[in-house]
């Protein structure tokens, strides 16, 4: 088992390395040069000497492979480097400033979603074709069908502009979290409810559940344990999936609600070709996803003993 984990970790490192290389190449393929942004958009006269000086300063004059290895070496030492565009600000500081916002958003949203979605999904599967099942199904399908930024803008119109109950943007108080968390939870909830319902429906007709059922009411606990244990597999998969989408998923929401999280830092940095920030973020998130994937697979093994670890 432990050698399996070690093997998976090694594989994970290879994944991260592949991603690091891919990101590095893709960022360099993107047309443009961050230097121009650094030099400002206003009445600024730029000479080639100035451009060269800035290139030299950030090592952008070095050959690509050299740049890559310098960056990789620094990353291994935990040094993410400094932002190109926001000259002199360490990338680490930018990330630390942004992480709490994104983490809170996602944790609140996922927590809210799980609390509501799992019981709802199981209930609607058990009471199939009941009113509750229909409402849940329609609700979850509606939740999936609604683009989250559209939902966000509609909520801003209703709750901020019309009713004036909630702030339209920013995080000056906990109230600023309500709308974005609601929007994000809606999507999560919709997906998790659907998956849970589907998973439970898969299991219901299976022999052991029927056996357990046949044993009578006293075995209700067993039914629930069976159902929950088996439904967990796809649910865990979905949550694993969602982790990989933390960054993508919050990009849009953070833009709509003007939230200064990782998503906005990322889009801003991509748009400005701030290589250091983009590369660091991608690698950090890749690491996160690799670890979560490993945990997901380990959970698979725990939940479904048919999968053997070799």
């Amino acid at each position: 088992m432990s050698s399996y984990i070690l093997f998976r970790l090694l594989k994970g490192l290879v994944v991260v390395l592949l991603i690091a290389i891919a990101t590095f190449i893709i960022m360099r393929l993107m047309p443009g040069d961050p230097v121009y942004l650094l030099l400002g958009e206003g009445q600024v006269q730029i000479t080639q000497e100035q451009i060269d000086a800035i290139h030299r300063r950030w090592g952008l004059d070095k050959p690509y492979h050299e740049q890559f290895f310098i960056w990789l070496g620094n990353m291994f030492r935990g040094d993410f480097g400094d932002s190109l565009v926001r000259t002199g600000v360490p990338v680490r500081q930018m990330i630390f400033e942004a992480i709490p916002v994104t983490a809170k958003l996602n944790l609140f949203a996922l927590g809210l979603a799980l609390i509501i979605a799992i019981p709802l999904g199981i209930l609607s599967a058990l009471k199939r074709n009941s009113l509750i099942d229909y409402i849940t199904s329609v609700g979850s399908v509606l939740g999936i069908a609604t683009p989250n930024f559209w939902l966000g803008l509609m909520l801003i119109v209703i709750f901020a502009a019309e009713l004036r109950w909630l702030p339209p943007f920013g995080l000056r108080s906990w109230k600023g979290y309500i709308l974005p968390v609601l929007v994000m939870a809606t999507e999560e909830m919709a997906i998790i409810t659907r998956i849970t319902r589907g998973a439970v429906l898969e299991i219901l007709p299976q022999d052991y559940v029927r056996t357990a059922k046949a044993k009578g009411l006293g075995s209700r606990l067993i039914i629930w344990r069976h159902i929950l244990a088996n439904a967990l597999l796809p649910i865990v998969t979905v949550i694993g999936f969602r982790f990989a989408f933390i960054l993508s998923g919050t990009i849009v929401i953070e833009t709509v609600f003007a939230l200064p999280g990782i998503g906005r830092l990322f889009t801003d940095s991509v748009m400005r070709l701030d290589y250091q920030v983009v590369q660091s973020l991608v690698v950090i998130f890749a690491l996160l996803v690799v670890v979560v994937n490993l945990l997901t697979d380990l959970l698979y093994a725990v939940i479904d003993p048919r999968i053997r670890m070799s």
Partner: protein, 538 residues
């Protein structure tokens, strides 16, 4: 490695913030019905002026003054010798007076005495000398080194006076170099530029309290400010990219003004509302489509002139800008009355003339309605900034107007960094920008029209223009300068380096709570640099 003022803050909700916040959440009505207006209470305590910007504040040093939003906070933390103020006058701030020698080669500045930096030290000529020498040198990573063009040396004459010697005339020296914020020599040389721009110390009315580039910049009053203790407790600039959301924040009372304009329609809806003061000014920058003159299909000036005739610019202004703009007839804004040339050739909307010019130039219409010449299609791609929904409709309407005379303008979108590089390097065809081709009061367009200009997005190369630009900068006599810039405008209009569309009315909205605003405003940005005289008692 952080400076003393750099702190990441988590302030608990103060009473003032609570009041301000409650204003947005419905408490206002209750309090107001008791005859207790929360915002008035806020005013007597000083209060925090809340401003809204559209993009992040990347840095707070002299290198960062170009973008409007950054200038808003920087000029409240740091002061320059002069500013070009809201009336477009050169107003002395840290300088008390200045003299220029007859030959234009020597500037003498007398400084205000008793001006304190935030760390308590006194501002002297040494600091000015240090600032000029540091930012005048591109090797220090200065991006504003060209402001100090032809500066040869700086001599400190006394603690409160200094002399700048020029190697050649630079007619724009005062408005460029003179408006660079002064940094404390000791602190700056200790911590270096990178740290300084994240934790600046200046002579301004406000000190940096907290700053998160993508989130907010928070300033607190500096009691020892030389123009007196500010009435406000502080200034807070929030980054709100979404124009609609800036509007909502204004109407809910969460913010007092948007530094970067709202949607035209939103601004107009607040015009005439007694709760707001709406300031309209004519822009210095011309809204234009820079077109790559080096492309074979765009290199003939008749093609570019034809495009000017093909564009119904009044329709763009009426349909997309609610009439809040003026058709551009020159590279210079009519606001710069002294240098503006009113007798220029005008391109009235005239598709027939456009077609005639294109025929004459040998571009003939094909079966698909698109013109071509020697197998080359008369087409190009206009790349707008990703997410720039406010301006892109202009490109969409222009596309149809150009198509009508047989020119195929495709549309694309790209991140701003790609466009800035693509246009500067000439790898992109066209884009859509608001940009100055000479401003007010300084009409020099070298950045955008000189062959080597950093913002010469049109890849425009005309030796005659270059010579005139150099001549203009090397001339001190205003009368002589005027005739040079009149000539520059004539060539601009004849050559059509870019498709110049309109000068926008810049609409800035202030809550009527904000007191101390100037009566007359010709230039909006400097209004925000007057926070030392603002209050929230209005």
């Amino acid at each position: 490695m952080k400076g003393p003022f750099h702190k990441l803050i988590h302030t608990p909700l103060s009473r003032r913030q609570f009041l301000r916040y409650s204003a947005a959440t419905g408490f206002t009505t209750i309090l107001a019905s008791n005859g207790l207006s929360p915002l008035r209470a806020q005013g007597t305590q000083g209060g925090t002026l809340v401003l809204l910007g559209h993009q992040e504040v990347a840095g707070l040093g002299p290198n960062d003054i170009a973008p409007t939003v950054q200038a808003t906070v920087i000029y409240n933390i740091l002061n320059p010798l002069f500013i070009v103020n809201h009336l477009i006058e050169l107003e002395p701030i840290l300088a008390e007076s200045y003299t220029v020698s007859e030959d234009g080669l020597t500037y003498t500045f007398n400084l205000r005495e008793g001006v304190k930096f935030h760390d308590g030290s006194e501002m002297t000529a040494e600091d000015v000398k240090y600032t000029f020498e540091f930012y005048g040198n591109a090797d220090n990573g200065s991006t504003i080194a060209n402001y100090f063009l032809n500066m040869a040396s700086v001599e400190v004459l006394s603690p409160y006076s200094l002399q700048v010697n020029m190697s050649a005339i630079n007619a724009a020296f005062l408005t460029n170099a003179g408006t660079v914020p002064i940094v404390p020599a000791k602190y700056h040389s200790e911590v270096g530029e990178d740290v300084f721009r994240t934790s600046p110390i200046g002579t301004g009315a406000f000190k940096l309290k907290g700053w998160r580039a993508a989130e907010f910049t928070e300033l607190v009053a500096f009691a020892d400010h030389f123009r007196g203790t500010p009435k406000l407790d502080g200034v807070r600039l929030e980054v709100v990219p979404e124009p609609s959301v800036r509007y909502v924040a204004l109407i809910t009372g969460e913010a007092h003004s948007a530094v970067w304009p709202l949607l035209v329609e939103d601004s107009l809806s607040l015009d005439g509302d007694p709760n707001y003061r709406v300031i309209r000014t004519l822009a210095n920058s011309v809204k234009h489509i820079p077109i790559n003159n080096s492309l074979p299909q765009l290199s003939d000036k008749r093609v570019r002139q034809a495009m000017m005739y093909a564009l119904d610019r009044q329709r763009i202004i009426d349909d997309l800008w609610n009439g809040t703009a003026e058709i551009a007839h020159s590279n210079l804004t009519p606001k710069n009355a002294y240098y503006y040339n009113p007798n220029l050739k005008r391109y009235e909307f005239n598709p027939a003339e456009a077609r005639r010019l294109l025929d004459e130039a040998g571009w003939l219409e094909g079966s698909d309605g698109i013109r071509s010449k020697d197998g080359l299609k008369l087409g190009f791609t206009c790349t707008t900034i990703t997410g720039d929904q406010a301006r892109r409709p202009i490109a969409e309407l222009s596309q149809i107007m150009l198509k009508d005379v047989g020119i195929d303008m495709q549309l694309a979108e790209a991140p701003v960094a790609s466009i800035l590089a693509g246009m500067r390097e000439g790898t992109m065809d066209a884009s859509l920008f608001n940009w100055t081709y000479g401003s007010t009061p300084e009409p020099d367009p070298s950045v955008s029209l000189r062959s080597d200009g950093g913002n010469n997005f049109s890849q425009y190369r005309n030796p005659e223009m270059d010579a005139l630009i150099d001549q203009g900068l090397a001339t001190v006599n205003p009368e002589e300068r005027r005739s040079i810039y009149h000539k520059i405008q004539e060539i601009f209009v004849e050559d059509v380096p870019c498709l110049y569309l309109q000068f926008d009315q810049w609409i800035n909205v202030f809550s009527s709570k904000v007191g101390g605003l100037p009566e007359e405003v010709l230039s909006p940005d400097p209004v925000y640099w007057l926070a030392h005289q603002f209050d929230l008692n209005g």
